[in-house]
Symmetry: C2
Subunit: 284 residues, 2 copies
């Protein structure tokens, strides 16, 4: 009955944690942001898979009962591997986002935007195409949107221009539903919304993931017991592999409230956790 572990390449996953906290206020959470190696979205599949395995192993070492892969790129490349290697429920952001988009599309013309890694992995496109047919799916990698969101330029003309640059083909293709396939994009929702046709539905995977985590906890009987309401307030713990320059500003912006204290973990320890899993010792 430990906390729920959430990991991300950096601070973007705090938008997912925010949704989880809203949906599951009684649960304890441990967040790990791999800020020393962020971003994952520009890096190769093998590298991302190895990093994700280490991140999950680090959380497992902290005694979590469930692992949430809050990073779309990590989920795209590593979800199955993690589900096979870890004796814990492991949830990713892609599946919930796809289900929500399919439930909400009216015309079956669905767009998805994400990092280079997420889009080039083809995971969203495959899952969507299986339901609506490949010609009705439009995907686009949008590498500049992450740094723009981190800079806090959420409603700046620069962001408006970058959004127009990336999203014009999706608007022209008449997508009626657009999946925001990166944890940074919810911060850009107003600007994206202004650019797309007014009736376009924006699917924020964080909300959908929180819903599916709640369902999964229920199915497995892993919810924090109701009596715990009388117990100490739920715990929230932050671990980072680096304390980046703009940590306080970016963290508060993504989580929606200040982060009281974050502990720094040396990368050596994260990698060591990964090695233990690789050698199968976690099952001993």
């Amino acid at each position: 009955m430990g906390p729920i572990g959430v990991f991300d390449s950096g601070l973007g996953g705090l938008t997912v944690l925010r949704a989880l906290l809203r949906r599951l206020p009684a649960e304890d959470f441990v967040y790990f942001g791999d800020t020393a190696r962020v971003p994952y979205g520009t890096k190769g599949a093998r590298t991302v898979r190895e990093f994700a395995r280490q991140d999950a192993a680090f959380l497992q070492g902290l005694g979590v009962k469930m692992i949430v892969v809050a990073c779309n790129t990590a989920a795209a490349f590593a979800l199955e591997t993690l589900q096979a290697q870890f004796p814990l429920p492991v949830l990713g952001v892609i599946e919930p986002g796809v289900s929500a988009a399919l439930a909400r599309t009216r015309g079956g013309r669905i767009g998805v935007i994400g990092t280079s890694g997420t889009i080039r992995s083809g995971r969203y496109q495959e899952a969507l195409a299986a339901a609506v047919g490949a010609p009705r799916v439009v995907a686009r990698e949008c590498p500049l949107l992450v740094p723009l969101a981190e800079e806090g330029l959420t409603n700046h003309p620069l962001t408006e221009m970058a959004i127009a640059h990336y999203l014009l083909p999706l608007r022209q293709a008449g997508v009626d539903t657009l999946i925001l396939g990166c944890t940074h994009y919810p911060l850009l929702k107003p600007a994206i919304s202004r650019f797309m046709e007014p009736e376009t539905v924006l699917v924020d995977s964080a909300e959908e993931l929180a819903e599916s985590a709640a369902r999964r906890l229920g199915e497995l009987g892993l919810q924090r017991p109701a009596s715990a309401a009388a117990a100490p307030a739920s715990r929230l713990e932050f671990w980072l592999s680096d304390v980046p320059w703009q940590f306080a500003e970016i963290g508060a912006r993504f989580l929606g409230r200040p982060i009281e204290a974050a502990r720094q973990v040396n990368l050596d320890e994260v990698e060591q956790a990964g090695r233990l899993v690789r050698h199968g010792r976690e099952r001993a």
Copy 2:
């Protein structure tokens, strides 16, 4: 009499290698790009110092005769540490850039732009202020310029707008000399030049560094011997800790010619090299 080792957080340092190749065509070079952990410019001082030490140790293990720190952020945080820990000449980009700016300024009003880490380290500002006085130095961090250069949007309206966003205070302060304190910025030189006053001198640290590397090789008698002209053509070797998605495009854009073959090194090996140095075994 080994090759010259050049390392960078990623591919940006290829602009420095390009200048070195032009200035020292008879030398052999080994380039290491830490593409698995790129960028360094947003990360904390301790993390960058540790990564730089590992990168240098990895190059040392390949038998280099000199180490060039092609990354401004790594040089800002780690140059003295590396010079103290390694029994090899270690050169950084900051010192040559500062000297060149001081030699070329007419009015002594100097600007410097770089990553968050480089600018927040204060290294450029301190060195410049010692010569011209702090009030005549204007520094600005420009985090979006790296992703814009990597996207290849070197003359795109987005880049023009980002440059105006960052550089307006420098233009208004009337800087007559501007140091491009990041390896990515030489690609944006035409756009930066268009925005600044026509008489503003842009100092590209790569050129200056190549000059100072040539001088240093001469002083130490480490040049590849002239007879080597009859020997096999100079070697050029690339090592990367990750093969990123846009490696071929970005690499060719920064180096100015295609990269024929790059070898991938596992991060484990890079870290292992760092551990050997940390324990002082390299001097045994």
